[in-house]
């Protein structure tokens, strides 16, 4: 909560130094009068502390001001775009998990083999690849050269493929390594040895005893993953002209749309913090040793 208030102040202060939106909105031949009129309409002619009070007061009532560019409440603009991002992000997360768990697990089980090396290579490469470039390469290969998949905007399910891959790619890299080291650790633990001694089949040991426990650090990180995806979505959505909040962020920055940018950053922070909280609860459920006082 305190974090949010501090954040609100920082965002407000930064937005004030972002240059004046009036200069961007007005045409070149605008008179001083036009300018004054616009500033008044936007409330930018009032002293800064008054602007701050208006901003904070509104924020408490869920009103983060009018978007200058869209001429609608910023919150409304944000929530119009949010569903588009909320379909993309889980898809990327899901794709990354589906790739990373088998890859990481097999790398751990067949430690030191060619497979392990291959998984490691995937991880090392994935971390070093700039995602905006990956997106462009994917567009070049699959949309332009092969003509299999659409390159921009939303529509059919096929539109989701390339953005989801671009967004999820670097998560796969990090997650694979995480799953691998986590499984390695669990494989070495007493209860896995006991299960094997009991004669539990290797499949059960791996998928039941091992995976469930190895997932704990991965689940803990879901909040971090999510925050990374929210950030990553800015670049990915910009590359694919995806009408979500990521592209909205980019546009708000480019068009100096203060109120919109403030709203976006605050709302994203609320979402990220909310997901972190949910993850903590899930964490306690997965690991009964965790008890919150």
């Amino acid at each position: 909560m305190l974090l949010l208030v501090i954040l609100a102040l920082i965002v407000f202060a930064l937005a004030r130094v972002t240059g004046n939106p009036a200069d961007l909105l007005l045409r070149e031949d605008a008179t001083q009068e036009d300018r004054a009129h616009l500033l008044k309409a936007l409330g930018l002619d009032r002293p800064t502390h008054e602007q701050l009070l208006v901003f904070l007061g509104g924020a408490l009532r869920g009103d983060l001001g009018q978007s200058i560019r869209y001429r609608k409440p910023a919150v409304e603009v944000f929530f119009e775009r949010l569903p588009n991002t909320l379909t993309l992000v889980p898809l990327a997360l899901f794709g990354a998990v589906v790739m990373a768990i088998p890859l990481g697990m097999s790398a751990a089980v067949y430690r030191g083999t060619l497979l392990d090396r291959a998984a490691n290579a995937v991880a090392v490469l994935g971390i070093a690849t700039p995602s905006f470039w990956l997106g462009i390469v994917l567009i070049y290969v699959f949309s332009i050269t092969l003509g299999w998949l659409p390159s921009a905007r939303m529509g059919s399910p096929a539109h989701y493929v390339l953005p989801a891959i671009t967004l999820g790619a670097f998560l796969v890299a990090g997650m694979t390594r995480l799953v691998r080291s986590s499984v390695l650790e669990v494989l070495d633990s007493e209860f896995v040895k006991l299960a094997r001694l009991k004669g539990v089949s290797e499949v059960t040991v791996l998928w039941k005893h091992c995976l469930r426990n190895a997932m704990i650090p991965v689940v803990t990180l879901f909040g971090v993953f999510f925050a990374l995806l929210v950030t990553g979505a800015i670049v990915t959505e910009t590359v694919f002209a995806w009408p979500g909040v990521g592209r909205l962020t980019y546009e708000a920055v480019i068009f100096r749309d203060y109120p919109l940018l403030q709203a976006i950053i605050l709302l994203k922070a609320v979402i990220v913090l909310g997901v972190n909280l949910a993850v903590d609860i899930l964490y306690a459920y997965l690991d009964p040793r965790v008890r919150y006082a």
């Binding site: 974090l3 954040l7 965002v11 930064l14 937005a15 130094v17 972002t18 240059g19 430690r111 392990d116 090396r117 490691n120 991880a123 090392v124 490469l125 971390i127 070093a128 700039p130 995602s131 905006f132 470039w133 462009i136 390469v137 070049y140 998560l171 890299a173 990090g174 997650m175 390594r177 995480l178 080291s181 650090p217 803990t220 990180l221 909040g223 971090v224 993953f225 925050a227 990374l228 929210v230 950030t231 800015i234 670049v235 910009t238 962020t249 980019y250 920055v253 100096r256 950053i265 994203k268 922070a269 990220v272 913090l273 972190n276 964490y283 040793r289 965790v290 008890r291 919150y292 006082a293």
Partner: protein, 307 residues
């Protein structure tokens, strides 16, 4: 609650793993660790040479426009011109020359941001670890908050609000970096603090400032150097992303992220605009990450668990 915080810090540390660092593969084996990774080192040396010698090596000026020669493909393709090895962009500027000069931007920003963010992180880490108590918990709270929040949003806002340029870029990236350094340096300080020579210095009546500067600082320098090298790749990626989003060093100065972005709208007809800078970023980040892994295993193997 303690458990929650522990979970958070695990999350934070592994979050860094995602950003470009993680334990090295055990597959390589201990014996090979002390060996210098030749290919990454060569790539890094080549980059530094390219950046430093850009005015000598580059066949053209990176900003010189030549409209009759615009959008020429690379020399080996049909219609290519031997004058422009990697082709030209929309304004007829030589892609190879821009690439070489772009290395300067990447390296300058990386060096400055790492020094700034690293120094702040080092100072906060030492202070927090050595002084402990309330100061420590407040500082670490701030570190945690910084690490959980998608800082690039703030960096983006900052990059645009203070006007695009080298200084803003460095400030924005340093803002993301310092917390990562502070957390790990603090951990190191906690172990150093318990050693006998620190107690001796205290008994001898050394001031706290002297103990931190003369006794503790040299002992966390190895860790600090390793952290620096492990983060170079990450910083180059962040710089490129910000440039790509139009919040980097303003044109006409060439930077790789911005070159990829410029080439985006011509990807169907002129692949040579976006591909080379992307490959350059990929290779450099890869090289620095591998080099950093090696340096860590050599200088400070214990850090493997943490970073």
């Amino acid at each position: 609650m303690a458990r929650l915080e522990e979970g958070l810090s695990v999350g934070v540390v592994a979050g860094e793993a995602l950003a470009g660092i993680d334990e090295a593969s055990d597959a390589r084996g201990r014996g090979a660790l002390a060996r210098l990774p030749w290919i990454p080192t060569l790539i890094i040396v080549a980059l530094v040479v390219a950046a430093a010698g850009a005015p000598l090596i580059a066949p053209h000026s990176p900003t010189e426009q030549s409209l009759p020669d615009k959008l020429l493909p690379p020399a080996w393709q049909e219609g290519g011109n031997a004058k422009y090895l990697l082709g030209t962009d929309v304004l007829g500027r030589d892609v190879l020359s821009r690439l070489l000069y772009g290395a300067r931007v990447s390296l300058t920003v990386a060096a400055a941001a790492l020094l700034a963010g690293g120094a702040v992180g080092l100072a906060v880490g030492i202070l927090s670890g050595y002084v402990g108590g309330r100061i420590d918990s407040v500082l670490m709270r701030i570190v945690d908050a910084t690490l959980t929040f998608p800082t690039i949003l703030i960096a983006l806002l900052l990059a645009v609000s203070l006007g695009q340029g080298l200084r803003t870029m460095v400030l924005a990236i340093a803002l993301i970096l310092w917390a990562r350094f502070a957390r790990i340096v603090r951990g190191e300080v906690l172990t150093v603090k318990g050693r006998d020579f620190v107690a001796l210095a205290q008994v001898r009546g050394c001031s706290h400032a002297r103990i931190m500067g003369v006794h503790i600082l040299p002992n966390v320098m190895n860790t600090f150097m390793v952290l620096l090298s492990l983060h170079i790749g990450f910083v180059i990626l962040v710089e490129a992303s910000l440039s790509f989003l139009g919040a980097g060093i303003p044109p006409p100065t060439p930077s790789w992220g911005q070159m990829v972005s410029d080439g985006r709208s011509h990807i169907a007809s002129a692949w040579w605009l976006s591909f080379p800078p992307g490959v350059a970023i990929l290779l450099i980040v890869l090289a620095f990450n591998l080099f950093g892994d090696w340096l860590r295993d050599w200088l400070d193997p214990r850090l493997r668990q943490q970073v």
